[in-house]
């Protein structure tokens, strides 16, 4: 029985740039800058090494808003390599790279298929009547708010079928609700495998053991900011001639990994102990990154005497410099993009809150606000956050970071730690 193998990738976002504060390390900036290209090269290399039949890319190859020529040239260059190795490529486009965004007008090589605005079926191999048929559709423009999945034709009954589309399955993905559809739309479609793109976090909406179809978001192949932590990559899928998915393996392809590391200060008493503990955490993370570059945020947790140092911004800045002087020069490097202090003093908060003084009143107020959305909204108004997040020049850069309700709670906790540290005289000082 013939088996067919393909790689399912999505959301390459070629040549999109990371917001890492790497001005001190210009060489790192260059590595960071090229990392989406390097990841794409690795995917192409993986296709060749694994001798797959095809590469399927479910949209967002690049960010058309960037209008990056390099992204388009690199992408087509990779397709040419695949073509030279006899590997087909099937590409549909999403909201970031709609058909009207391909402005460089490059010629695609033989065996590389770009889906148009209407769903269209193309077999892996014209000469093999059993080979899978890929049906895909591309966004003609960025704004596609209609359900594309329901427009897919029913698959040919006697061949393996794959649907390739950039879509938002369910409304709660945390992504823009482009080409929305439901999981029911997919399960009732008759297709064997849905190769989806759009959601950056890997999800097997229906796994191999859930019955047909298998529905997978591979996530983006390279994390691009601290909210895209952990391994990022593609799926290698193996399918028999009846469309049964016989293997579904995730393969990391990220060359640079974002991580959030935690270090508790409870048992640490001196600066040196703290530095040693941080070094240890980073070394473990480097080992776990398996040869990849690492960009991490260090979260200081727990409570202890070192909290009083950590609340000082210059102290955490020094720590960050110290870590980067140790690890950012290595190859692969480990770059600390920020140290966030979530540690607390050794105060008994309940005891403080039960008093009758100003601090008690403050803590009582904070507790009330945290438990009451209405009061949170009032606090937000009173803090006049809109002054910055609604600022006519700043708002377009901050639209994604305008704190939502849960972020407000976190910020209140941070504000509380900061205020307590400043309002309360520490006993053992």
């Amino acid at each position: 029985m013939a088996n067919y193998r393909f790689i399912h990738a999505s959301d390459l976002h070629l040549d999109s740039q990371f917001g890492v504060l790497s001005a001190e390390f210009p060489e790192l900036a260059e590595i960071l800058r090229r990392s989406t290209f390097d990841t794409y090269d690795r995917i192409v290399e993986l296709c060749i090494e694994e001798k797959v039949d095809a590469l399927l890319i479910a949209g967002d190859v690049f960010d058309s808003a960037d209008n990056s020529l390099a992204a388009q040239l690199n992408f087509v260059s990779g397709l040419e390599r695949l073509s030279q190795h006899g590997i087909k490529s099937f590409v549909c486009h999403g909201n970031h790279d709609p058909l009207d965004g391909w402005r460089a007008g490059l010629d695609w090589p033989e065996g590389a298929y770009q889906f148009g605005p209407e769903p269209h079926a193309i077999p892996f191999d014209e000469t093999d009547p059993n080979s899978p048929v890929v049906t895909g559709v591309s966004y003609p423009t960025q704004e596609v708010r209609t359900n594309l999945v329901t427009q897919f034709p029913p698959p040919a009954s006697n061949r393996p079928s794959i649907g390739l589309v950039h879509a938002n399955v369910g409304a709660d993905t945390g992504h823009e609700n482009y080409a929305p559809c439901t999981i029911d739309d997919l399960t009732t479609s008759g297709y064997d495998y849905w190769a989806l793109g759009h959601v950056h976090t890997r999800r097997e909406l229906r796994g191999r053991n859930d019955g047909a179809p298998v529905v997978v978001y591979p996530g983006n192949s390279q994390g691009r900011h601290r909210n895209e932590k952990g391994p990022r990559g593609v799926y290698i899928v193996e399918m028999d001639e009846h469309g049964g998915v016989t293997a579904l393996d995730f393969r990391p392809t990220d060359g640079l990994r974002w991580q959030e590391l935690e270090c508790a200060i409870d048992q640490l008493n001196t600066d040196q102990e703290l530095i040693n503990a941080l070094d240890e955490k980073v070394r473990i993370a480097i080992d776990e990154a398996d040869g990849r570059h690492l960009v991490y945020r260090m979260i200081m947790t727990g409570s202890g005497s070192l909290h009083n140092s950590l609340v000082r911004p210059d102290y955490t800045d020094d720590l960050q410099r110290q870590l980067n002087s140790t690890f950012a020069g290595l190859r692969p490097f480990a770059l600390c993009e920020k140290i966030v202090d979530s540690s607390s003093t050794q105060f008994d908060r309940d005891q403080l809150a039960s008093g009758t003084d100003f601090v008690a009143d403050l803590l009582t107020l904070i507790d009330q606000i945290k438990s009451d959305p209405e009061q949170r909204a009032q606090l937000k108004n009173r803090a006049e956050l809109e002054n910055l997040f609604g600022h006519n020049r700043a708002r377009r850069y901050l639209k994604d970071s305008d704190p939502d309700d849960s972020s407000i709670v976190e910020l209140i906790d941070e504000a509380e730690r900061f205020l307590l540290f400043n309002l309360i005289e520490v006993e053992d000082e």
Binding site: D15, V20, L21, A70, Q72, D357, F358, L388, A394, F418
Partner: protein, 939 residues
């Protein structure tokens, strides 16, 4: 705590002064100025909290150094305990405190702070014991301890305010609406710059697409123009070839005209004229050959019969060759002969001399026969060694004999000394020495004589005889003299003489034996000599020869023998040379006669004849050889003559044949026809060459008939004009193509630049970093903003709901003092000043700085009353001691204040110091049961 009694000593004006018992809750202590009120106030503070240390400016009230400074207080605590608190100078700067109970049992002094309710000196002085000046300087907000009392433990307003300021500053450092220098504003400026940079590179994809499209179009147009250029160039090439062909074509046309005028020949011999000329040339040559060979044949026939001079010498060719060959030997022999003869003569003279040296009976033959062998020389050597050994043997005996003789002389001298002393019967040493010398000379003389005889040396013999004979004679004389001397021995010496005689006898025996041995050796030597002489005789040498002489003699024989051998060889050679000379001369003479040459007997003449003979012989030989050759050539020449005659006939036949082929018998007619034929051939060739030239110019496939018609229709000038026009058309097209290619190059460069350009990517990376910073800043700013809002909300609530009870109490007292003019006092959290609220329909806030002095003092007194109550409720009711605090109050408010003191006195003991009788009266009126102490009254 209340003070029941005061003991004061060595303190200001007080010396061992006691006050008390103080029993009233409120006691007015009255005294004029300088009566000691301030001293008493200071005393109470210092007893409870210690004497002032070096750093304060507080009055220590010490007056006498010899009086113990200090005192004691009898107090009753809130719990009823009665204690005595004493403090005196000594120990620490604050003095030494002592605590006792009413049974005078000491109590640990560390309990004092507890007894005072934990109040510090500053709290006590600010709230409980103060004068007018201290009343108005009361400023709780600047004193953390007081503030702590006012606002509750764990919270201080300055910390909140500092926090508020800190948060506000941090927030404003990041962002302020409308601000230009904050971090966010700076980031936004950088972002603007980056965005601006991005806009300039934003259309790269579109540009790339446009470039690629234009590139393709331009290349296509360039290709089309290239095709047109190729066509025009092809036309131009053909046209320029036609122009090039023009002259050739004209020549061809002319050639054809000339060809038409010459008749067409059928067959005509090839290369007719050259062949005709060749025939004519060959005929001439053949005829000359026939004539030459005929002449040669004739002259050879004549030469074959000529005579040769001295032809007979040819028969003596062997002798002539010998004469020629041996001529050199003959000349050498003639030259060598005298020299060789001289050498022979010299040799024979030397031989004669040698023979006379050897002896008269030595002839040349005897020398030749005498064989000098190695055995002979060995025999001589053996004899020499034997003789030498015999001689050495004799020489070896002599020292022994000499020694024995010397010993004998010594012994005999001793014997003669004995005899001289008595009978002197011994030989004198001088005589003995003389004898020994005479014997020695005789022996040496004898030996020399013998050696001289052996070596036949007369000198040795002479010396030997000359020495030996007198030696013998002298020795004989000495011996006789000795024998004639008498002997005699003294009796005392007889033993010694006898002993000496025995020694002399023994020595004489030894001497006799030694001399005998020497004689044996000499005999042996004589025998050896005899053997030697016998051997000499036997081999025929003179017997007088010593072995060395015999060796030399043999050498002489050898030398002479050698010379004899050489002389014999030389003689044979001289004879041989002479024989050669004679034979050669005879041969030359013999042959010379044959050719009539006369020869003298001298060698010069022989040599000249020899030369002449060889010359004549050579001439005859050459002439004979030539005649032989000529004889041989005559038949060959006859054959050759026949051949050349045949060749000539052949040529004449062939010429006739050629002429016949040309259709004539006349060579001149043949020549004319041949020329005409040749001309036609040349014209035909020219036509072919011209056609080839045209084909070369136009290309092999070009239709020449077409060319003919083309060129017939055009002039060369017309074609040149057309060429110029095509060139200009080409130039234009080339220019167009160059322009297009330049554009293609530009587009390639643009495309490369676009492909390689990383600026957009870098700008976006920069932008992403800036946005990340901005977002981080926004989070920080949000946190600070929220912190600010939280602080503000808490403060509002706190200020409204959480003013300390103490301020509520103070508000009550203040309202009371001011007759309701002010209703409230409160402490805003972000200010160090208290505010008062003026009563009215719309209550007005007023900072204390806006109050009159009296009202302000009333406010501070109210706050102290509140603090006293608050402190007492939580801790200990400490006594309140005030010094002239009501003097700035108007009478009405003073009365109200005095009443309030009365109320305070219900819980805390009050001591009011004043120098004003009206105040004393005021308290007497306002506080029933008030106590009274007059400081002026005697103790």
């Amino acid at each position: 705590m209340r003070i029941d009694a005061i003991n004061i000593n060595g303190f200001g004006t007080f010396s061992d002064r006691n006050f008390g018992p103080i029993e009233s809750p409120l006691t007015v202590v009255y005294g004029p100025n300088e009566a000691g009120k301030s001293t008493l106030l200071g005393y109470l503070r210092q007893i409870l909290f210690g004497f002032p240390t070096g750093r304060t400016t507080e009055n220590r009230y010490r007056i006498e150094s010899n009086v113990q400074h200090g005192g004691s207080l009898n107090v009753t605590m809130d719990d009823g305990r009665r204690l005595i608190i004493a403090r005196h100078t000594g120990g620490a700067a604050v003095g030494t405190v002592a605590l006792h109970d009413d049974q005078n049992n000491p109590i640990d002094t560390s309990e004092l702070a507890g007894l005072l309710g934990g109040a510090t000196r500053s709290v006590f002085e600010s709230i409980f014991a103060f004068d007018l000046r201290e009343l108005s300087s009361f400023n709780s907000a600047n004193n953390e301890e007081i503030a702590s009392l006012l606002y509750g433990a764990g919270m201080s307003a300055p910390r909140m305010i500092a926090t508020l300021e800190l948060v506000n500053k941090a927030k404003l450092d990041i962002f302020r609406p409308g601000g230009q220098n904050q971090q966010v504003a700076q980031l936004l400026r950088q972002l603007d710059e980056t965005e601006s940079g991005l806009r300039t590179v934003q259309n790269q994809s579109t540009q790339y697409r446009a470039c690629r499209r234009e590139h393709a179009e331009t290349e296509a147009r360039s290709g089309e123009i290239g095709q047109s250029i190729d066509e025009v160039q092809s036309n131009r090439r053909i046209l320029s070839r036609r122009i090039e062909a023009w002259d050739t074509w004209i020549d061809l046309r002319n050639n054809r005209g000339r060809l038409e005028k010459i008749p067409v020949f059928g067959e005509f011999p090839e290369k007719a004229i050259s062949r005709l000329e060749d025939f004519e040339k060959n005929l001439t040559r053949a005829r000359a050959s026939v004539a030459q060979v005929t002449a040669n044949h004739q002259s050879a026939t004549d030469a074959s019969v000529e005579e040769i001079p001295y032809e007979s010498i040819l028969e003596r060719s062997i002798d002539v060759r010998k004469i020629v060959e041996q001529r050199g030997v003959f000349v050498g022999s003639v030259r060598d002969l005298p020299e060789r003869q001289g050498e022979l003569d010299s040799d024979e003279t030397r031989i004669k001399e040698d023979l006379s040296t050897l002896g008269p009976d030595w002839t040349q033959q005897r020398v030749e026969d005498f064989d000098v062998t190695i055995a002979l020389r060995d025999q001589i050597e053996q004899s020499r060694v034997a003789l030498e050994i015999a001689e050495q043997d004799i020489r070896d005996r002599e020292p022994e004999i000499g020694r024995i003789e010397s010993d004998l002389i010594d012994s005999e001298q001793r014997s003669s000394e004995f005899n001289l002393e008595s009978t002197d019967d011994d030989v004198r040493p001088a005589n003995r020495l003389q004898l020994l010398l005479a014997v020695a000379v005789a022996v040496i003389g004898l030996i020399l004589a013998i050696v001289g005889a052996v070596m036949e040396s007369t000198i040795f013999i002479g010396i030997g005889i000359g020495a030996g004979v007198p030696g013998v004679l002298f020795a004989g004389y000495l011996m006789r003299t000795r024998g004639s001397q008498g002997t005699g021995i003294s009796h005392a010496e007889r033993g010694r003489i006898q002993e000496n005689k025995r020694i002399v006898e023994r020595l004489r025996g030894q001497l006799s034996r030694a001399e005998q041995a020497k004689n044996d050796s000499e005999k042996k030597q004589a025998e050896e000599y005899q053997t030697w002489h016998d051997w000499l005789k036997r081999i025929g040498l003179p017997d007088s020869l010593s072995p060395a002489g015999a060796s030399d003699f043999l050498s002489q024989i050898d030398t002479t023998n050698g010379r004899v051998t050489v002389a014999i060889e030389r003689r044979d050679r001289v004879l041989a040379i002479q024989k050669n000379i004679d034979e050669y001369r005879d041969l030359v003479t013999d042959v010379g006669e044959l050719v009539e040459i006369k020869i003298d007997n001298d060698s010069v003449s022989v040599q000249a004849a020899s030369n002449e003979i060889s010359g004549l012989f050579d001439s005859a030989t050459t002439a004979e050889r030539k005649r032989g050759e000529i004889n041989q050539s005559v038949p060959e020449l006859a054959t050759e003559l026949a051949a050349v005659t045949r060749d000539l006939e052949q040529l004449e036949n062939e010429l006739a044949q050629l002429l016949c082929e040309g259709g004539t018998e006349d060579p001149e007619e043949f020549r004319r026809l041949a020329n005409q034929h040749l001309q036609r051939q040349e014209l035909e060739n020219s036509e072919q060459i011209l056609l080839d030239g045209l084909r070369h110019i136009m290309g092999p496939d070009y239709d020449l008939a077409k060319l003919d018609s083309e060129l017939s229709d055009n002039s060369k000038d017309e074609m040149n004009a057309e060429l110029v026009s095509l060139d200009s058309e080409l130039e234009e097209m080339e220019q167009d193509r160059r322009d297009l290619n330049i554009r293609v190059g530009e587009l390639n460069a643009n495309i490369s630049t676009l492909v390689d350009d990383e600026q957009a990517s870098k700008l976006r990376a920069g932008k992403a970093s800036l946005v990340a910073v901005l977002q981080d800043q926004a989070v920080d700013w949000s946190r600070y903003s929220l912190a600010m809002a939280l602080l503000d909300m808490t403060r509002q609530k706190y200020e409204k709901e959480r003013q300390p009870a103490i301020l509520g109490r103070a508000s009550g007292y203040f309202s009371e003092f001011t007759g309701g003019r002010y209703e409230r006092v409160f402490s805003p959290l972000d200010e160090s000043e208290f505010h008062v609220v003026e009563a009215g329909p719309t209550p007005q806030n007023k900072p204390t700085t806006k109050l009159s002095r009296g009202t302000l003092e009333q406010l501070y007194l109210a706050m102290r009353f509140a603090a006293v109550e608050e402190f007492g409720e939580k801790r200990e009711h400490l006594p309140v001691v005030v010094d002239e605090v009501l003097v700035n109050f108007d009478l009405e408010r003073a009365k109200k204040a005095a009443g309030a003191f009365g109320k305070i006195a219900e819980s805390n003991q009050v001591l009011v110091f004043t120098c004003h009788p009206w105040i004393r009266d005021l308290f007497e009126d306002a506080v029933p049961g008030a106590g009274f102490i007059d400081l002026d009254a005697s103790p």
